[in-house]
Amino acid sequence: MEPLSLGALAILSVMALVALRVPVAIALFLVAFAGMWVSRGLPFALIQAQLVPFATVSSYTFVVVPMFILMGAIMSSSGVVRELYYFAQVSLARFRGSLYHATVVGSTLFAAISGSTIVNSAMFTRIAMPEMMARNYNKAFAAGCIAGVGTLAALIPPSLSFIIYGILTGESIGRLLVAGILPGILTAILFMTSIAIMLRWKPHWAPNREEALPIREKLRAFAAIWPVILLIGIVLGGIYTGFMPPSAAGAVGVVGALVIALLRRRLSAREFSSSVESTLSLTASLFFIIIGGTLFARFLLTSGFIGDVNDFLEANAVTPAMFLAMLVALYLVLGMFVDPISIMVMTLPFLFPVAEAMGIDPIWFGVIVVKLVEIAVISPPVGMNLFAVVSASDGQVQTKDVFVGILPFIVAEVVCLALIFSFPVIATFLPDNMG
């Protein structure tokens, strides 16, 4: 079989198995193994199955994954999310719809601790939704706001999406994490602008202004969160200045989070072991997907598929703009059904080499990819963040509410994507100037 046909058949087989509810990692591994057997023989496939799993994950670069997951889990267990939200709430009390804005700011701050969009959305549904409902805020818009801002965790470091992108493509994880900062802040600003515009049009969506609190209360709220801000500063500052590699920064983050939680007497032995357990479970499933993706990438490369795809694109005069347009369409469709990390692992093995061959900046391309999967997870009918909000609301939010409420935030996301397309410097300025 021709490499191009074999590779295409393999990609379709992975999609079919995933649709049949075979775990993503298992589907990738199985198809890659079968593909290698067909293209290079059984001994080659077996030796890859022997060497790839241990070799892939016994890399110091990977240490960053469980470290940042554990840091986020410890911080979440210690109740810091509620305090971040309260700080944002008292700081923004004078604005109309202050709780919507506080959700954006609080979620942005939490995104600097947690790298998972779904965790972010679920946490803020439990904390912000009851507060907004108690003040007669519009339910659909509130739910859309929470689902939308949850995606900030994919951009703002320590973003798991960027870490996985870095692992899959060999790009510097430190540079990728730093590249997400400006697009993340820009997204937050566009969300707040979108909220302000919607409230000017529909003021009854936030009927009452909050009472402005005295400065003493704001200082008290800040006093509760300053150690967390300091920790974020040390971890991100350490990566940006080159003081620590991301893996070491993650380890410092874990110890710092543990110290903060213990000093605040907010972490019992049971909560700590539960944080470790959830870290193990998530790390195991993520790493297994990466192993499957690595084997799949190796199959596509050794079978000659990647080379043939590049030749095909060259022969058909496909320009980078056309390639990026196809990428947008592919990610938006896939993203409605598959989780962000799995999409990247399934597609980057064949998309990244093409992007590289076309001379597209790999850091900018990473930001575009993460932004696209971020938009996909909030796109109805099956964006995963939307369902995270519905399920975390314990029946308070219906699917139709969040489908309607998310629309202004999707518009803001598309504007942000267009800006990053038009001004790549938004993504590349910080990494190009880091230590």
């Binding site: 193994f33 070491a248 499933s285």
Partner: protein, 159 residues
């Protein structure tokens, strides 16, 4: 709870505890290394090699927990639209696929560990240490996960 269930749970949680100890140890090692470099001009000898091999062992020892809890990432959107009998069938397909993949990894891990032991493979770094104990985690994690998948198939635990 049957004896088999009890043995499985004990195995899964023993592996998870070892994995957890490794992860916390890696965090402590990484922190000590940063402090050492910044304040004493020297890091922990062999920290990078220990952390990377320890991470691999931690991952493979956490695999049985992920299989036991069925927490490997899957996509249930299409399956959820189908009748329960078909969903159950898809569940079995997933478990059989998992059994095959873990079986192949576990089978190949026998050779991986044997070669590492016979060749006295050691980690390259300031402090050389034997790699085979870390590679043994591949064998334990993959075979353990395969057995759990088999039990899930036999126990008709497809959903």
């Amino acid at each position: 709870m049957s004896v088999l269930d009890s043995v499985t749970r004990t195995f899964v949680f023993a592996c998870a505890i070892m994995s957890g100890v490794l992860i916390v140890g890696i965090a402590a090692l990484g922190f000590a290394d940063v402090i050492g470099y910044q304040f004493f001009d020297t890091g922990v000898p062999g920290a990078l090699e220990l952390a990377s091999k320890g991470l691999a062992a931690a991952f493979f020892l956490a695999l049985p927990l992920a299989q036991y809890r069925r927490s490997h990432v899957d996509v249930d959107i299409v399956a959820n639209l189908l009748p329960e009998a078909l969903q159950r069938l898809f569940g079995y397909i997933g478990l059989v696929a998992a059994l095959a993949v873990f079986g192949v990894i576990g089978w190949q891990a026998v050779d991986l560990v044997t070669k590492s032991y016979q060749l006295s493979e050691s980690a390259q770094g300031i402090i050389p240490f034997a790699v085979w104990p870390f590679k043994t985690a591949v064998l334990v994690g993959a075979i353990g996960s395969a057995l759990i998948a088999l039990m899930q198939i036999l126990g008709r635990d497809a959903l």
